[in-house]
Subunit: 350 residues, 2 copies
């Protein structure tokens, strides 16, 4: 991680892209060395998951995600006046924890594909996916327990608490799938999204602040920044799931509607009490939607106010995120990397 700031690139993602590339350069060696410490078959499966190996063990170019969370750790450390290089272990720990949840979520959600490759459970079986996920979780916390940095115990406390919150979020998400969409309230959905998505982005920022030697109030402010930015990210992601351009998303138009996903704009629309809400509920009670039904459902979400609500909420959350950040970093120019990352994740079109 160099200390060059991402200047002038805000919004267009160019600054953030450079930051993410520099993060990979700084964090990947530590991440790889840590994964290499795993035993036998568990190590092999982890290598496959991170895209460093094919299923047959031959080397692969690697497509291991965008490194947003480790970038948040390093950028937060920098924003609080710390040396990002000192926070590389913490950044790797957050990335390991993230990947542990992905591996288990793919089993639970029966997802066949992750980063354009077959998921671990489809290649190695459910038992090995559970076991390797467990090992990655323990490895993340081991990395912090063995880090001599004075902030490492507090970081381990925050990361383990965050893992528990991620579990809660995933559990709520599964439970919501069993309920009729009009029975799930917006507040429940926002709480679930905060636990499932916001918590780890908040934790990443908090760990960066801790490693910069920040005090408790500043650390909490960075956590709140990451959480709010994470919620904005989820809202935008949900909008893309309905109105995203298939040429950009790589998925059919309205994929989330077709699969009856109870995303935030849908739940908000259902709660409106309008005739469009009834129409939408009717479509969600029916079979999986064809292209024509998907168009009618998207139209109903829009007429019921779900699109406007989600866009307003996302803007609102980003505003709150910046407010929280300014409590810890009054001169926001010192936090331009963090802001570039937050805008990158919330402005992306796919």
């Amino acid at each position: 991680m160099t200390t060059t700031h991402a200047t002038g690139g805000r919004g267009d993602g160019a600054g953030a892209a450079g930051l993410l590339a520099r993060t990979r350069t700084a964090v990947d060696p530590r991440l790889r060395a840590t994964v290499e410490s795993l035993p036998g078959q568990v190590r092999r499966i982890a290598r496959y998951h991170f895209g460093w190996e094919q299923a047959d063990g031959t080397p692969s170019e690697g497509t291991a995600g965008k490194a947003i969370r480790p970038a948040l750790v390093l950028a937060a450390a920098q924003a609080l006046g710390g040396d990002p290089q000192q926070a590389v272990r913490a950044a790797a720990a957050v990335e390991l924890a993230h990947n542990f949840t992905l591996m288990h979520d793919d089993v639970i959600d029966e997802d066949p594909t992750r980063r354009s490759r077959p998921t671990v459970w489809t290649v190695f079986g459910i038992p090995d996916a559970i076991i390797t996920g467990d090992a990655l979780c323990a490895l993340a916390l081991r990395l912090l327990a063995e880090d001599p940095h004075p902030a490492s115990a507090k970081a381990a406390s925050r990361l383990s608490a965050c893992v528990i919150e991620l579990c809660e979020g995933q559990q709520s998400d599964c439970a919501f799938e069993q309920r009729a969409p009009q029975d799930v309230t917006i507040d429940e959905c926002l709480t679930m999204a905060e636990a499932k998505t916001g918590a780890l982005l908040g934790c990443a920022c908090a760990l960066g602040a801790l490693y910069a030697g920040a005090g408790e109030e500043e650390v909490d402010a960075l956590d709140a920044f990451g959480r709010e930015a994470g919620l904005a990210f989820q809202l935008i992601d949900d909008l893309i799931g309905i109105w995203g351009d298939p040429a950009h998303t790589g998925k059919p138009a309205g994929a989330d509607l077709a699969s009856h996903k109870k995303s935030l704009p849908v739940v908000a629309a259902m709660a409106s009490g309008s005739s469009a809400a009834d129409e939408l509920a009717e479509l969600y009670r029916g079979p999986a939607m064809d292209a024509s039904a998907v168009r009618r459902a998207a139209d109903a979400v829009e007429r019921a106010g779900g699109r406007d609500w989600a866009q307003g909420q996302a803007a609102d959350r980003m505003a709150r995120a910046v407010q929280h950040l300014s409590r810890a970093v009054p001169d926001l120019t010192a936090a331009d990397e963090l802001l570039a990352l937050a805008e990158f994740v919330t402005r992306r079109t796919r």
Copy 2:
């Protein structure tokens, strides 16, 4: 935990039984308070798993295991001259880690029953069993990360490394099930048993020593003691799985043979190269065994030397365990509780 020693009860299990009861009294309040910190449904499922609640949420008497691992933590602390009361958090952390592995192992092995009750996955489904196990793992390491005791970081390092070894053991166990029993070597089997059973008993003893302020060599000696005792325990357990009295085990005679389990005496028998080994291999290639086939298989294991080998190994391992212990505690009378526990787990008849 009182400081009363278990005197005169060695071998008959009475001293150990008292120790286990006192451990429950000392550790259960911390264990319960920690589980109560979990969110919503995850907390409810954990309460069910520990036997504190029925599946419908009504209170239950609790049948949460024998507390052998937390008892080892406290007894090791005492043997090294520490105050067991200071190690209660570490004892609770070890018990949480143990129960996380049980919850996931039950999913992986498709076991329907645990402690005479339906397993979590059969009651709440596989997703909730995976998620709640994850939360217990994070909770175990959180408890250590938030423990102000000066040994807590080293303890977290050891426990997280141990969880990774437990994962390796479970992975090997699953992999062995896919191979013909005569293709699995005794060394592979012993390594697997050490990872799956010995590692956590060793870690429990090591944590007790750490919390007593012991040096690295003593901590390693206690780890080695627990590992060897754990292997002895596994060997005895495997003998019981073949020759145990159904009146004591609660399972049909030779249950492990009937299910073609590749236990240590079976693998040793197969490796003997005798005609009895061929006979046994033939029975293992066939369908699930009836009572008559089970009798013939048990006889073949005995004639091929599997029974004698396992009994000899168990005695040998216990002798090595005591040797390791004496490196850290030259006057073994100071370690009578630890020895009573080790004899309890290796002399039990069910």
